[in-house]
Every structure is written in C-alpha cells, then in structure tokens.
C-alpha cells in the first residue's frame, strides 16, 4: 500500500526545508456519523523526523490537528542525499514510517 506520508525535503546547502502531508482521518471523537453514533477518537499523537541518527523534529499532536495533517519546518546540519526518516504513531496503536532522500 502506498505510504500515508507524502514528504518534500529540499536543501539549499545549509538549511533543509521539510513539508509533510499525512493521510489520516484525525477523528476528534466528538463527531457523530450519519447514523448519529460518535466516531471514536483516532488521531496521530506523535510524529518524528530523524536525520543522520538524530531527531530533528518531534510533533506531539492533539485532536485539533486537521484531517490529512500538514506540517512544515526547517533544520540545519543535513545535506543533499541524506536520508530523512519520518514515523508516526496514533492513539489506536496505528503507525507508519517512510524514508525520504533530501533533494
């Protein structure tokens, strides 16, 4: 199955800008479905970015993060061709991870 994580990591030699879009419902647990039953909370709690064996960014998310969540950040000390490992875990124990090459 194609990964749920889309990522664009581009470096201008010194700073690497990372944009990520993740396919996930991010249900808050407060919304009712068509039959009027509450859709249980199902949201990503932790999203980690690691490069060259070091965490470069860690996101802790609550229920207020939009569906198909997006996040952008930048970091130093990486160069073109380095591997960026992205992994997330949600409140139901679901998870996914992928590795992207910095362009």
């Amino acid at each position: 199955m194609a990964s749920s994580i889309r990522v664009r990591a581009t470096s201008n030699g010194d700073i690497t800008e990372v944009q990520t879009l993740i396919q996930h419902p991010m249900d808050t647990g407060l919304v009712k479905d068509a039959k009027g039953e509450l859709i249980p909370a199902h949201y990503i709690q932790e999203l980690k970015f690691a490069c060259n064996g070091k965490d470069v960014f860690v996101a802790n998310w609550g229920t207020a993060i939009s569906k198909d969540p997006y996040v952008k950040f930048s970091f130093k000390s990486a160069k073109k061709g380095d591997d960026l490992k992205i992994s997330w875990t949600d409140n139901k124990g679901g998870s996914d991870e992928t590795t992207a090459k910095i362009a």
């Binding site: 889309r6 664009r8 879009l21 198909d68």
Partner: protein, 288 residues
C-alpha cells in the same frame, strides 16, 4: 439660444438612437441562439465588474475575490489536500481493466491534456458528453462497473485528467448543429432559472453577488467557476466532482437535486464551460 436648444435636442436624440441600436441587435439575436455573443457579453460583464482581477485569476473562484482567503489558499497550495486524490487518479489511470485495456485506450491522446475540451457535443448521439460520463462509459465498454458520479474514485480520475491539462485554455466547441445550440440554450436557461424554496438561481449568487459573503462563504464568480473542478473542499473534507457540486448547490437552495449527469446538469456544464473559453484549466482545486 435656439441653436443651443436644438443641439441639445439633437444630442439627446442621437444618444437615444445609439442606445436603441446597441440593445436592438441583442434583443433580436436573443431568439436566435448566439453562443459567441453570449460568451463575449458574459466575460465582459465580469471583466468590467471586477476591473482589477486579472482575467485568468477568475478561475480561482472565491480566492480571486478576497485577499485574506487567497493567502490562506496559496499556503495550502504548497502541499494541497488533493495530493492523495491526484496520486490515486494517476495510479488508476495506469492500472489496466480486467480485459487488459486502460482509460488511455478510450480517450484521444491517451487521456492526457484533453480535459479542456470537455464537455463536448456528440453529434452522433445528439447530446452533451461530459468528462465524468465519458469515463464511466469507458469503464462500461471494458466490462467494468461504473463509478458513482459523486464519490472519490470519479474525483480521483477527473483530478488526474484535469491536472494534465493545467494551464491550458478552456476550449469548448459548439458544432453547427441545431441540437448543440439547443443544449447550450438549455444550459443557459438552467443557469438563470430560480429554483428551490430559497428561490435562487445559479446567477443569484454567482452573477449578482460574487465576492460577497453568504453566511461564511465568499461567493465565486460564475466566470471560470468549473475550471478548477474537481475540488477538495474543507467543508466536505474530501473530493468533490462537478456532479457533487451541482447536487449540493441544489439542496442548499432547498431544491431536490436531479439524477447525476441529468440533461440539465450536462447542459449547464456545457454552457458554463463554453463561456469560460480562453480561461486556463486550474483543476484539481482546493476550496473552503
């Protein structure tokens, strides 16, 4: 004194004549369907009503009308929410049917970069064929079940086909065929006809008050309103095909929607696409 008065008289007379001349050809022409004149008048209406909106910007709907929303949209466009539908559409396009054929076999140029010519008038059948109808026909011709017109699969396919045409000018043709002119006129009538308990027509919102708010939404101008379809709407937190957009608009004016791909829907799509000829395809789009 006399001369001044007669000059005044002559002036007003000629003005009246000019005014009469201007309207009369249109009045006469209205009975004979004249799509070229309709398209010109339609575009000029919006170009004059919003002089500082760049012509090609009209296809960006509400974002051509409101700076703050345009900024939010451009931020979203950096990594748009329709990215998944686009990838799914690309994959579906490449996956062969059970009989080994693919969508590329059903469409000119393999289906790539042709969205700007849809809908077209099929002189054989004597009716308007939209991209969504053509896709389902291709599926059925290859022994596959048709997709729902309002669900994600259809949206993913049309998203990919629209993406391959991005930037190309809308290029809808009306053949010299009485039935084509009738379909165009039928679409125009549908566009201007009030319906639903709210007693709105498409024009009530998209011609009379684009740029204004109806509740929280900024209304899109009718010119180029279909160029961005299919769209990912935050409201639906999902993709929306042209059919889904028409159906939801109907129910919001409390009119019972017609069946997807009904004559009226295909004809109004034909009318709206034709009058937007020359404006770029910008689908798939992201909307509030």
């Amino acid at each position: 004194m006399m001369k001044a008065r007669t000059a005044l008289l002559l002036g007003s007379l000629s003005a009246a004549l000019v005014a009469f001349a201007l309207t009369s050809p249109r009045v006469v022409a209205a009975d004979k369907v004249d799509p070229v004149a309709d398209a010109k008048a339609f575009q000029n209406f919006f170009f004059q009503k919003f002089p500082n909106v760049k012509h090609e910007d009209f296809v960006n709907g509400p974002y051509s009308m409101n700076e703050d929303m345009k900024r939010q949209w451009q931020e979203k466009e950096e990594f748009p929410p329709y990215e998944f539908a686009l990838d799914a559409g690309k994959e579906m396009f490449a996956t062969p049917f059970k009989n080994g054929k693919t969508y590329a076999d059903c469409f000119p140029n393999g289906g790539i970069g042709i969205r700007q010519n849809y809908p077209y008038f099929d002189t054989g059948e004597g009716k308007v064929v939209t991209l969504e109808l053509a896709l389902n026909r291709c599926r059925e011709a290859n022994g596959e079940a048709p997709y729902s017109y309002v669900k994600d699969e259809m949206a993913s396919l049309t998203a990919y086909m629209a993406f391959t045409s991005r930037g190309k000018a809308m290029d809808i043709r009306i053949p010299d065929d009485r039935r084509a002119l009738e379909a165009f006129e039928n679409g125009k009538r549908y566009f201007y006809t009030r319906r639903g308990q709210m007693n709105f027509s498409c024009a009530s919102c998209h011609v009379q008050s684009p740029g204004e708010r109806i509740r929280a939404e900024v209304l899109a101008p009718a010119l180029g309103i279909l160029n961005a379809l299919p769209i990912y709407r935050s409201e639906w937190s999902g993709m929306g095909t042209t059919s889904r957009r028409f159906i939801t608009c109907n129910s919001q004016t409390r009119a019972v929607p017609l069946e997807p791909q009904a004559d009226e829907y295909r004809d109004v799509e034909y009318f709206l696409s034709y009058v937007a000829n020359g404006l770029p395809i910008s689908g798939p789009g992201a909307r509030p």
